[in-house]
């Protein structure tokens, strides 16, 4: 508790800061995903696109959406302004900001279509093309978005549920890692359509040890659970931990991918993943704006363009694993 020399401590801290900085510039030599000068084929198209999402910062899933969007901007020679806020009113404000700064096109997620409708319409009135992606498949037309790229959450869930039933699952547990999320609830509802014995549980996705403890408790409480369905790749890894702790024989199914989850599929620890291909969602959303402005295209011809559900399992993981390591799948 003694603190006679604050200066020494300050000095040590500064040293650490220097270390940290060198760590960033020196060691972080991960090659840019797919970049390497092969992109940017369009040179400078002069367009500026805004992407507005309801991302909660620091989630691997959104990072892929963004990676796809940035690659698309590079490939079409456009500038990308990315912004996000999980609160619907703030997201609406961000769309308004994009309109005010007179961008050439806007891509937005529509997780809360009612809250965003007026902003989306304002973009239309300002003559700025706006497309929806990731969420809002049923409402994107009503609010005035031109196109839609994403997966149908209920359909994706149902596909997973049906496959679980086919494989003999009777009592799946669907794990919701963010309370009150419309998209996650829709996925679990879909799973229940495909596998009627499905039960939901809520966990605190911001704390891995809490996720493990909750799942462990659930598996201890109900040994009849034979499948666990997680809705995000990091949660799947926590579920593996909880299954080991509780000695559960349940099988694991997940949505989305990251490196560890892809590896676990390869190792046979995860049965399969329902991938909605977030990289593609980000990529197509930006590219569609470019094509719309440049060439008047309407991708999907008035119908939503589905990026999933795409199964990743032992049959195709060898192809997909390198892309997961590259942060593009």
């Amino acid at each position: 508790m003694k603190l006679t020399t604050p200066r020494k401590i300050l000095g040590a801290g500064a040293l650490v800061a220097v270390f940290a900085l060198t760590a960033c510039s020196g060691g972080g030599a991960q090659p840019e995903a797919g970049g390497d000068g092969s992109g940017g084929g369009g040179g400078d198209s002069g367009y500026t696109f805004a992407m507005v999402t309801h991302e909660t910062p620091g989630d691997t899933f959104w990072d892929k959406i963004r990676a796809g969007a940035e690659q698309a901007a590079k490939d079409t020679g456009a500038k990308l302004q990315y912004s996000n806020d999980p609160a619907a009113d703030k997201q609406a404000q961000l769309i308004q900001t994009a309109i005010d700064s007179d961008v050439d096109g806007i891509a937005t997620t529509l997780a809360t279509p009612d809250a965003l409708a007026s902003s989306v319409q304002a973009a239309g009135e300002a003559g700025i093309p706006i497309v929806g992606f990731n969420s809002g498949i049923d409402q994107y037309k009503d609010v005035g978005a031109l196109m839609y790229f994403g997966s149908d959450e209920t359909l994706a869930g149902r596909t997973a549920g049906e496959r679980i039933t086919e494989d003999g699952g009777k009592h799946p547990l669907c794990v919701i890692q963010a309370a009150g999320s419309v998209a996650l609830e829709a996925r679990c509802a879909g799973v229940k359509e495909g596998a009627p014995g499905t039960e939901n549980i809520q966990v605190n996705g911001a704390d891995d040890s809490a996720v493990v403890a909750s799942l462990q408790a659930k598996l201890q409480q109900d040994p009849s659970i034979d499948y666990i369905v997680t809705l995000g790749a990091p949660i799947a890894i926590d579920a593996l931990d909880a299954m080991e702790q509780s000695g559960s024989e349940a099988k694991l199914v997940t949505f989305d991918l990251n490196v560890d989850a892809a590896q676990a599929i390869k190792d046979g620890e995860i049965e399969f993943s329902i991938d909605q291909q977030p990289y593609v969602q980000g990529y197509l959303a930006v590219t569609s704006l470019y094509l719309n402005l440049k060439n008047g295209n309407d991708i999907g011809g008035g119908q939503p363009v589905l990026t999933g559900p795409s199964f990743v399992d032992s049959t195709n993981i060898d192809t997909i694993l390198p892309f997961a390591e590259n942060n593009t799948r």
Binding site: G13, A20, G28, G58, D207, S214, A217, Q221
Partner: protein
């Protein structure tokens, strides 16, 4: 209690002569943790009745594990709150500590043990800056640490993205030093088929240590004194600045400790994690009888508070209740715990008068 002892020379030199003598039952009731203990027993019995699977020793140790991951940092946060300050950065520094260690070691190719030490230095520095700024500027710790909360949250995301190109740390389980660090921070052992995590043992040891420091040492008296009234504490020669900075450093030290547990248990961390846990630490302390205004509380109470949190959050799962009500149940339990706490305290004061 100890606060009265240290203030005695200033306010009422002869107070000890006309002090009310308390019977042992009243003295027990006047302790900060008694209300929480009563609440904990009631909640425990409640879940034993409604949730059959709560009755196994397995379940108890899962609850203890959940409580330890909150409880370790909560001990330090409790001490800090007794000392009259808050630390809102306590939740994210756990993630910062783990990320720092993982990224530093991975990208510089340095042994994880060295990375952990450098991460510790970084965390202690953050704690020092928090404390130093609070003391030097006189700005409430709520604001200063709200600032560091945002800074750390942003740096966690920004640096992780910059270094890894993604928003999660790489998997470190194949690196040098992993086995030792994993054994120390995230190890577990089995007794009679029950898994006991090291973190539970550390938690109990830390609680015992903190309780001893608070009740039996001069530093403990200082902590109560600076939390009760730091002007009079200063007047009687308590090194207020050193005590408070020390408390902030203790918080970030134990934050680092849990960060190490989280990193070595899960091998990788998402950069956005940890947000919101700062409130759980504060809740554990408050449920355990710590006053939000400082100067009152003790370490055992905080531990019971963390245990109540672990019990409630998992008890709901063991009971198999509808998950949509999860937060509502949690809130009701916590408010009930505080009410029982208050009621027991009132009981003790009325008896004292009569």
């Amino acid at each position: 209690m100890s606060q009265a002892t240290t203030q005695a020379p200033v306010s009422a030199p002869h107070e000890s002569s006309n002090r009310v003598k308390l019977g042992w039952s009243n003295r027990i009731l006047a302790r900060p943790e008694v209300g929480a203990a009563v609440a904990a027993v009631l909640i425990f019995i409640f879940f034993l009745v409604v949730a059959p699977s709560f009755r196994s020793p397995d379940a108890l140790f899962t609850v203890l594990y959940q409580a330890s991951t909150i409880g370790i940092v909560a001990v330090a946060v409790g001490l800090l709150m007794i000392g009259g300050e808050f630390d809102l950065s306590a939740g994210v520094i756990v993630t910062s500590a783990g990320l720092f260690n993982a990224l530093f070691s991975y990208y510089l190719g340095i042994n994880l043990i060295v990375g952990a030490v450098v991460s510790l230095v970084f965390c202690l520095f953050v704690g020092f800056v928090n404390g130093y700024l609070v003391m030097r500027t006189g700005i409430p710790s709520f604001l200063i640490t709200l600032g560091s909360f945002f800074i750390l949250q942003g740096v966690n995301l920004g640096v992780t993205k910059l270094v890894t190109g993604a928003v999660a740390s790489p998997n470190i389980s194949q690196m040098d030093g992993y086995d030792l660090m994993h054994t120390i921070f995230a190890g577990s052992f089995r007794i009679g088929g029950i898994t006991i995590w090291n973190s539970v043992i550390y938690w109990l040891l830390l609680v015992a240590l903190a309780a001893w420091v608070l009740q039996r040492t001069r530093i403990g008296n200082w902590i109560y004194a600076v939390g009760g009234n730091d002007a009079s504490a200063r007047a009687v020669g308590v090194p207020v600045m050193r005590v408070k900075i020390g408390l902030f450093i203790t918080v970030s030290f134990l934050g680092w400790f849990v960060g190490m547990h989280t990193l070595y248990r899960f091998n990788t961390l998402q950069a956005g994690n940890g947000v919101g846990n700062e409130f759980l630490y504060i809740i554990a302390a408050v449920v355990g009888g710590t006053l939000l205004t400082g100067g009152f509380g003790n370490a055992i109470g905080v531990a019971i508070g963390a245990f109540i949190f672990g019990m409630t959050s998992l008890g709901i799962v063991y009971a198999g209740w509808d998950p949509n009500w999860f937060r509502a149940f949690l809130g009701v339990m916590l408010v009930l715990a505080v009410l029982v706490n208050l009621y027991v305290k009132k009981l003790s004061t009325t008896r004292k008068v009569g």
